[in-house]
Amino acid sequence: MSTPYAKLPAWADYGLIPVINLAVAFVVAGFVVMLVGENPFRAAVILVEGAFGRGQGIAFTLFYATTFIFSGLSVAVAAHCGLFNIGGEGQGYIAGLGIGIVCLAFDSVLPWWLTFPIAIVASAAMGALWALIPAYLQAKRGSHIVITTIMFNFIAASVMVYALVGFLKPPSSMAPQTRTFLEGAQLPKLNWVIELFGAKIRSAPLNICFLLALVMALLVWLLIWRTRLGYEMRTYGHSPKAARYAGISETRIIIIAMMISGALAGMMALNPTMGDQHNVALDFVSGAGFVGIAVALMGRLHPVGIVLAAILFGMLYQGGAELAFEMPAISRDMIVIIQGLVILFAGALEHMFRPYVQALFASFSPRSVGIEAAKGKGA
């Protein structure tokens, strides 16, 4: 027996459909802009120019994208194992604790290139640990991972408040944040790379975490599609029964996948702390963990897609800030609406236009998909 369903060529699946979704999101966003009495075309120009027009904008866009790559990868790794990790926000936040402790301890004695690896390990370990408990509860007790990871977001927030008004804060300070890190915990900027292309940058926070994010994207690709562990995760993700049959331990694979996912979420904390603000402050994650869900969905859980989607969201953040600045009628909240629309169309309604595109392709006759390639016997 064979369940019939039409298939699209890969370029349409991964290229055309996201582009259509995006276009629709922007058209609807355009109407919203019109509603508040601004010119949507000028708004679009400001948005894109703000994000990519000048070196400064590009650097900011990529800075935001860096965080989203980590959180998107985190969601994707869990999703390949059939798990919905909504806890990236908390896992990233609690990782700030590890980073704070490491940086405060070593920034006066070690150079940045020694502090950085230690902080990477600390952030990944804290994130993994924060994912471990929900993972254990899911694997052993059947407590649903969505519920427990959400709860752990709240717990992380409380723990961080406790730490930031307590032992992480310098005794004399009033602000709930650590002292500013010394040079030994400040990551080098990457702005010079953009300046190589002739652009001028006054100051922008783009730093080597961006490279780390790209490396992690590659490693995640390797993990999912090229390692035995990734194979086991995908098997479980598609069919727990088949995984049981294949001798894959449910407990083990859930815990490992969630810890990797948590570690990636933890690493996103490096970018805003060591890379930008040079401290650990209250609410420094500010929703990036949740954006990761949209990024992962839009990127179709594939690292390449995730990097592209992260850049798109980086653009919305950066260009949106410019827009709010340039067009007084468009407030910060409007920007959130536009971002919400992108998430809605690209993430949640991802399959809305698929049937139409498929019908379109079908009417073009599938012969266009290379039938005379005649490989194999072909029954």
Partner: protein, 510 residues
């Protein structure tokens, strides 16, 4: 009288390089039962999916009742009076029968009115065609045979004049299949038209008026059923003579490989499914477990292969016990030489979303041959998959194709190739040829017998009595979780049938 209900003219359909249907012409006469047979991947399901609006033909014409029809979606097909019963039912498990029947055909905004209307309509249909089901039963609590009846009711409720059934008996017990055929005959008497796809040539002979044969995407012949034979059909399908019963020599049974002792297994609701079973399986023999589906065979297989917890008893593999606590590692059992072809290939034996080559290592993915350190050795895996594709004639011969896109029989061959090629000492097989065409059945049976002749121990569970009789050296009959008798393969069908129905046991109890 010979008025065409459906005419298909020059239908073509390709999936990439695969030409699933080429230049198909077919005429189905109103008020008849028309069988379609053909090898796995011959294009039967594709053709019917085109008729039902799931796929669009690349070219060709469909006429319904003499008029050209454009069928773009299943709704178009339903409007034209065409209904389809899928092999995998499309029912909402936790809805009642009635709710399922009206789903998508609710006539009023208020459900209550629709339900009342549907109830009386349903009662009429039930009376007319002998389709008894309790309208208020929950779907998941019904046996498959009844679920299928609900599918038929759904189609009739929507006014189907032409009913397509794709391999309807694959999941049915013989009694359920008989009942289905009685229903189909009723439908025919009422003037409905039935298209029946099946691999069981006996069913074709028993119930159809006309039969069409497909091979590799083409329609090779149409015959009046009364004027043809099983042998001719098999030959037309495969393009060569087929042995419907594979020859085999005497078994030379050796040492005990698998010893099951007082095994008791309960299902998740606590019902005893396997009840104090003991038997031995020796090297160099095939033991067949016959029985009507649902008499504990599935649970027995799962317990032996370490997937399901047993309540009590023991299973020894080569003299060493198998962990029956439910914590057994099926991977470890594989290392010890136990291979298992599960009954449910779609959810257990395969990951349908994987590429073919990824499935060809499922369960053996920690074998050094397929690994380079923690990494998968992609080249080794694909080459290995290609070898199996050649050896087992899996079509299309593309190890990178998604498994869901293989036809049912070819999916089965993917599982069998994987398990048999590991050269296990003990092979346990559930429903080896479910949904598999005659040519492939011959092939699979030959391979199972070859394994036996190499001194392997083979345990076969099948609901096909023919299959059990032609393969086994010894037959154990299971009824209500117990082994109610052991017979030689020469035992008559009637005798085995009675055992399977639990008749002898009841007599003994009295």
């Amino acid at each position: 009288m010979a008025q065409a209900a459906i005419e298909l003219i020059g239908i073509n359909k390709s999936f990439g390089a695969v030409r699933a249907n080429r230049d198909i012409n077919l005429e189905i006469v109103r008020g008849t039962i028309h069988g379609i047979v053909g090898e796995n991947g011959a294009g039967k399901s594709t053709l019917m999916s085109i008729l039902y609006g799931f796929y669009q033909a690349d070219s060709g014409e469909i006429r319904v009742g003499g008029k050209p029809a454009s069928i773009k979606t299943p709704n178009d097909a339903i409007a034209l009076g065409i209904g389809m019963v899928h092999q995998h039912f499309m029912l909402v498990d936790n809805f009642t029968v009635l709710e399922n029947v009206i789903l998508g055909a609710e006539s009023d905004a208020l459900l209550k009115k629709s339900i009342a209307k549907a109830r009386s309509e349903l009662e009429r249909l039930e009376r007319e065609y002998g389709l008894e089901v309790d309208p208020d039963a929950i779907i998941e609590e019904l046996p498959v045979g009844l679920q299928q009846r609900v599918e038929i009711l759904k189609a009739l409720y929507r006014g189907a004049e032409i009913l397509i059934l794709d391999e309807p008996t694959g999941v049915l017990t013989p009694a359920e299949a008989d009942h289905l055929f009685r229903i189909l005959k009723q439908l025919k008497e009422q003037g409905k038209t039935v298209v029946l796809i099946t691999h069981k040539l006996r069913e074709i002979m028993a119930i159809t008026d006309t039969v069409s044969v497909m091979r590799q995407g083409t329609m090779v012949a149409t015959r009046v059923t009364k004027e043809t034979t099983v042998g001719e059909l098999a030959e037309l399908m495969v393009g060569r003579r087929v042995l419907l019963r594979v020859e085999k020599g005497e078994a030379e049974a050796g040492a005990v490989k698998l010893a099951v002792k007082n095994l008791t297994v309960k299902d998740s609701r606590g019902v005893t499914m396997v009840d104090d079973i003991s038997f031995e399986l020796r090297a160099g023999e095939i033991v067949g477990i016959a029985g009507v589906a649902g008499n504990g065979q599935s649970e027995l297989l799962e317990a032996i292969s370490g997937i399901r917890r047993a309540v009590s008893g023991s299973v020894m593999l080569d003299g060493k016990p198998i962990d029956l606590t439910g914590a057994a590692d099926p991977g470890e059992l594989r290392d010890r030489g136990l291979a298992h072809v599960p009954e449910d290939r779609h959810h257990v034996g395969l990951v349908l979303a994987f590429e073919e080559n990824e499935n060809s290592i499922l369960g053996y993915h920690d074998d050094e041959r397929y690994l380079k350190g923690p990494f998968l050795d992609i080249d080794a895996i694909r080459n290995d998959a290609k070898d199996k594709i050649t050896k087992y004639d899996i079509r299309p011969a593309d190890c990178r194709l998604k498994t869901a896109n293989f036809s049912g029989g070819n999916q089965q061959k993917i599982v069998l190739a994987r398990e048999m090629e590991q050269d296990p000492g003990v092979l346990i097989v559930g429903q080896p040829t479910r949904g598999v065409d005659v040519g492939a059945i011959e092939f699979i049976h030959k391979r199972l017998i070859a394994m036996r002749d190499q001194g392997k121990a083979v345990l076969v569970v099948s609901v096909e009595l023919d299959e059990i009789r032609s393969l086994s050296d010894r037959i154990l009959v299971m009824f209500a979780g117990r082994i109610v008798g052991e017979r030689s393969p020469e035992a008559s069908e009637g005798e085995l049938g009675l055992l399977m129905a639990g008749v002898e046991q009841r007599e003994a109890a009295e």
